[in-house]
Symmetry: C2
Subunit: 400 residues, 2 copies
């Protein structure tokens, strides 16, 4: 019998409890041993809820119980999740978490503590919710050099962009509806400004290259500037617009960026609609693989936490190695990154456009007195210079 504890009976924590309970027999069969939730820590009383049988209000009970081999940290936030995680690991208890903030901030340190105490710190649920991506990166792609990672890593923004595309609506009205439906927070900034996706690509990039990527080093643009007019141009191109979180290794340089991109149907991420997430990984040997599923939601996220619990249960007394050193990975300034740009200008003077931007693919204006075009490949710095010289740029979206 493997005994576990859950810290925090909120959305994800109660989901973890539910998954372990509902799939008890399946888990026992696969593990060859029963898995029991011995404690759930929460300050609230949850009167009448069956969780009361195992509910405790004092974390010491869990930390001091040598029977508890695995702890699920589903509290979220930095404190006291950080202190509780440290303590559990120092007691030799493996910790499985969905807390991307903590992972992004303290991942290397907590992995090191786990290593010293022959236990594991796993965090599949911290990126991409129910999508297996961290374990595949660590195991299935361990033999690969990762050339690029491109993710649709935020369900709220993907939902908004999908609705803008399919219903031709403006950003604000779709956001309002998403908030009504509970797909967007009352304060949606972390999602719509790209910060959530940024933390997630920071974690994935760190794991791909074994060093620490600070999310502050990643250029981040949200989707607030995307308009229905941009979508009208995308449609003309037979394309759509997606918020990509992207990192690329080019020679010995690393680039990372969160921004909206024009995406063509040839890209498998094109078809990822609504609240679904997906991550496309390009490797030097096996080429492209993609991982798709629910990027959020109670049971999907909880399921990923429980997958980690089972992995820990199969490796009691052993450290599951994750290469993520505290040394910083140098992210090169975005200025040197090369790509094509879709540009919309308040001008229809093709000669003048080509004079500044060079050979471009033109798209007739969807409104009077403007037009759109796609440039040849150039660096971000080159684009910025040309745009400044031209002057009347209405919007720019990078082309994948």
């Amino acid at each position: 019998m493997i005994k576990a504890a859950i810290l925090g009976y909120g959305t994800v924590g109660s989901g973890v409890y539910e998954v372990i309970k509902k799939n008890k027999d399946i888990i026992t069969g696969r593990l060859g041993d029963a898995l029991q939730v011995k404690y759930v820590l929460d300050l609230r009383p949850f009167e009448g809820d069956p969780v009361q049988e195992v509910l405790v209000h004092d974390v010491d009970i869990i930390m001091n119980d040598p029977e508890v081999a695995i702890v699920c940290e589903t509290m979220g936030g930095e404190h006291p999740a950080y202190e509780f995680t440290r303590r559990a690991l120092e007691c030799g208890k493996s910790v499985c978490t969905s807390n991307k903030e903590l992972v992004e901030k303290h991942g290397p340190e907590l992995i090191q503590i786990a290593k010293e105490h022959k236990c594991s710190y796993l965090f599949e649920a911290s990126v991409g919710g129910g999508i297996p991506i961290i374990r595949p990166l660590r195991t299935s792609l361990a033999q690969e050099e990762v050339l690029s990672i491109t993710g649709i890593l935020n369900g709220t923004t993907n939902y908004i962009l999908t609705k803008m595309e399919t219903e031709g609506l403006a950003f604000e009205s779709v956001l309002a509806r998403a908030q009504e439906k509970g797909y967007a927070e009352k304060n949606p900034d972390a999602d719509i400004l790209g910060f959530d996706a940024c933390r997630k690509i920071a974690i994935l990039t760190s794991l791909a290259y074994g060093k620490k990527v600070d999310f502050e080093d990643i250029s981040t643009e949200g989707i607030t500037a995307i308009t229905d007019v941009d979508f009208a141009y995308a449609k003309k191109m037979g394309a759509t617009i997606k918020l990509f979180a992207k990192s690329v290794k080019k020679g010995d340089k690393y680039y990372a960026l969160v921004a909206p991109f024009i995406v063509k149907p040839e890209n498998p991420l094109y078809a990822v609609k609504g609240v679904f997430n997906a991550i496309l990984v390009n490797c030097n040997m096996g080429g492209e693989t993609m991982y798709y599923g629910k990027g959020a939601g109670k049971l999907a996220t909880a399921s990923a936490v429980v997958a980690d619990v089972l992995d820990c249960a199969r490796h009691i007394g052993k450290h599951l190695d994750i290469r993520w050193e505290d040394e910083k990975l140098a992210i090169s300034p975005i200025d040197g990154a090369v790509r094509k740009f879709f540009v919309r200008v308040s001008s229809t003077d093709e000669a003048q456009i080509q004079d500044v931007f060079g050979a471009v693919e033109m798209f007739a204006g969807v409104a009077d007195g403007e037009c759109g075009f796609v440039t040849e490949e150039m660096t971000e710095a080159e684009y910025r210079d040309k745009a400044a010289k031209f002057g009347s740029v209405l919007s720019m979206i990078r082309v994948d």
Copy 2:
């Protein structure tokens, strides 16, 4: 230093050699130890090829060398691959393979031998080439009840169907072109009749439920009956046609089928084009996840073999448990499976059609004297009865 041997220096075997050589430093970094190919077994001489340094013609050299901890079986076929695999496992050497025939036929037995000798038998590359699917099923989805698996598991047929769709060509002409390009074998039967996909879904279904699925128990139809006319109807429906390999758990019954399906854009498999493969897994807690990538090809397949090698290298002296008992999983007759059917008939008599098939969604004929329609949900047996009664059915394609 971990030492490995490769049995068979054909397409996949030479790919394994190449992946280990090219990504040597990455592998050493991730493994914390070097991985060396000590021997390559092949009867051919390969004069002038650097592989000669490690080439041996006698399998005994490998079996008798206690330094060899891991063996890659990339010979294909049943014999002598089976005997060599058994021998290696009995020597306590883990075996990693891309040989789906052997896995499908002898999987449970070879896993059991590995277990008894504290080593592992891994076969990620046997299904979906470079796509991580077997390891995710075993680890990331270990906490889940699998409700269904739907795979595009054969690149040749997906290439042919994609070309038929995009270029409006007939099956025969696309097949001929695929053969020219090397995307289809000279004798393409194993692909186009669905047998290859059938073996693969048999393996995945076995792993999902821990029991043996015989591929002979799976109803299998290929794509040879699909015409450009069928695609014209699919287009009217805003859909496409894909060869699906599918297994479903419904209550305590299991169904499995390989057949062409009408697929709508809402299905993430809709966007899987050309030689790419993908597997959509629906689970009771986390919902749908999909795994996408190159289903075949030298380096993609080899990369998956090397992923298994690294997994074995991290678990020397330990058995990586795969639940796959020799007990047979009862696959229910397809007659009881419920779905909608697209039917094309040489009649335009809507009243008569509805009289036999009930309420249907009609599609005007793309040629004179015929029409197409989609039925309501009914069992396969019910459909067959109605089709026999109606008489003039030109083609039927299941609707996903």
